[in-house]
Amino acid sequence: MAYEITLLTTMAISVLFALSLNFISGFCGQISLGHAAFLGTGAYTSALLTKASVPFLLTLPLAAMTAALLGVLVGLTSLRVRHDFLAITTMGVAFLFVGIVRQQDFLGGEIGVSGIPPTGLGRVGFLILAISLAAAFAAFSLYVRRSWMGFVFKSIADNEDVARLLGIDVPRYKLAAFVVGTAVAGVAGALYAHHFRFLAPDSFGFIESVSVLAMVIVGGIGSVWGVAFAAAILSVLPLMFQFVNDFKLLLYSALLFAMMRFSPDGVAGLVRRFLVTGPRNRG
């Protein structure tokens, strides 16, 4: 049972993290290759605070705030650079984060942070918290997509110059997307820190950033259900491939490639096509 709880907690944290990127990249169209830096910011904030005896639940909003602060900075760069230039700039953010954390003694440097205290919620309590937060943000995402904010985001993702011509203050909306997305990534980071009880700088670098973007794209960029599903599956896929231990990364990358090559609109696209062609086949 303990193993299943660990597995489910990992899934819930990944879903929350992937949905936070989906808010920025899927809804507002700003591709980020450095989203793990915000997970890391939240994780380090929360871990250092609980080690200083701050109650865990209190660290959640603080982790969200520090991550969002960094998010505003990156969001400001997104006002200046666009498209592929932005993707590579955000990739730079991941490298800068790791590079800076590695050299700071108070952040544990290369060795990382260990001895993170337990949350006091118990394993099941912690799992319930993680699932509730993921579910709450999924519900919020679904609401936003129906709201006028989602409508505006869709136009910015499509063509931001046109959005401006329709009187939309594009910079403010982009910043809003970055603030929400990075704050939630910070919360996911706080959960991450207290789930694994150990932090190393390399866990928040480029590879982790690419993995979470892969979850979003495999799920079907912008689709809340698709992304949640893909994040849940992909986060534990390497564990499931344990039986082919030596080949698990090869299998993972081959699957990812096949998905992009044959169903570029992700799981959500697969399902949509099935629903569209399904009845016709039956009829």
Partner: protein, 249 residues
């Protein structure tokens, strides 16, 4: 007559090239002015100065008496400027109806917080349908842009601009790319909008249609203002004839 737009002595230079030099123009409430000139006359540049994409080195642009210097594009739009572009730019993932609905809902999209607090779109959709019908493409409201011919998209651009309830409607070559029949129908639509009281600045290559529907013309050549006045008088001006015949020869 209240001034809606006034352009005062605007000059734009790109590097060493002067694209517009000393342009001045004013548009009063309810007027329909045709803005013409041969290729390279600086029409597009002046238009971009009005929308705020290009900053002039000299001169001012006032909308309803307010200097728009350093205003962002979206702020200009909210102050009452709307543009239908020469190269149509529909939002591709949205139906025509959604394209127009988003513009109708500019009250809800004024800030992220406002937009987050509103979900209902019914009223805006009704208005958007009416607008699409008004420009003659009500039947195509639910179609995606990629499935429609250029003529429809040009009209959608006009409907989307009208949806912003602008003080001034800027039309950038709305007839370009249309066949003779479509162009005539579009020109009729513009004349009809003008009759309904809409103030319009029409930038257009199609001289015949412009002369037919515009009571006033503004002519620019080589970036310099050439003539501004009643259509008949402007077209009789030898300098204007020379600019056009010279360009044709």
């Amino acid at each position: 007559m209240a001034e809606i737009l006034s352009i005062e002595d605007v000059t734009v230079r790109f590097g060493g090239v002067t694209a517009v030099s000393g342009a001045s123009l004013s548009i009063g409430q309810g007027e329909l002015i045709g803005f013409i000139g041969p290729n390279g006359a600086g029409k597009t540049t002046l238009m971009r100065v009005i929308t705020g994409v290009v900053q002039p080195q000299q001169g001012r642009v006032l909308l309803a008496g307010r200097d728009m210097a350093n205003w962002s594009v979206s702020r200009r739009v909210r102050a009452g400027l709307a543009l239908a572009q020469q190269i149509v730019q529909p939002l591709h993932d949205m139906s025509l109806l959604e394209n127009v609905t988003l513009a109708v809902g500019m009250r809800h999209t004024a800030s992220p917080l406002l937009s987050l607090l509103h979900t209902a779109r019914g009223r805006e959709q009704t208005v958007a349908r009416e607008l699409l019908a008004r420009v003659g493409i009500g039947d195509a409201a639910d179609a995606l842009p990629a499935t429609l011919p250029l003529g429809f998209l040009k009209r959608m651009e006009v409907a989307r601009a009208l949806a912003l309830q602008p003080k001034l409607l800027l039309l950038d070559e709305p007839l370009a790319g249309l066949n003779q029949q479509e162009a005539r129908a579009m020109a009729d639509l513009i004349a009809e909008l003008s009759r309904q009281g809409q103030t319009i600045l029409l930038i257009e290559h199609n001289l015949r249609e412009v002369i037919r529907i515009c009571p006033t013309l503004y002519v620019q050549d080589n970036g310099k203002p050439l003539a501004f006045g009643q259509t008949q008088q402007v077209m009789a001006d030898p300098a204007v004839r020379r600019a056009y015949l010279g360009a044709a020869a």
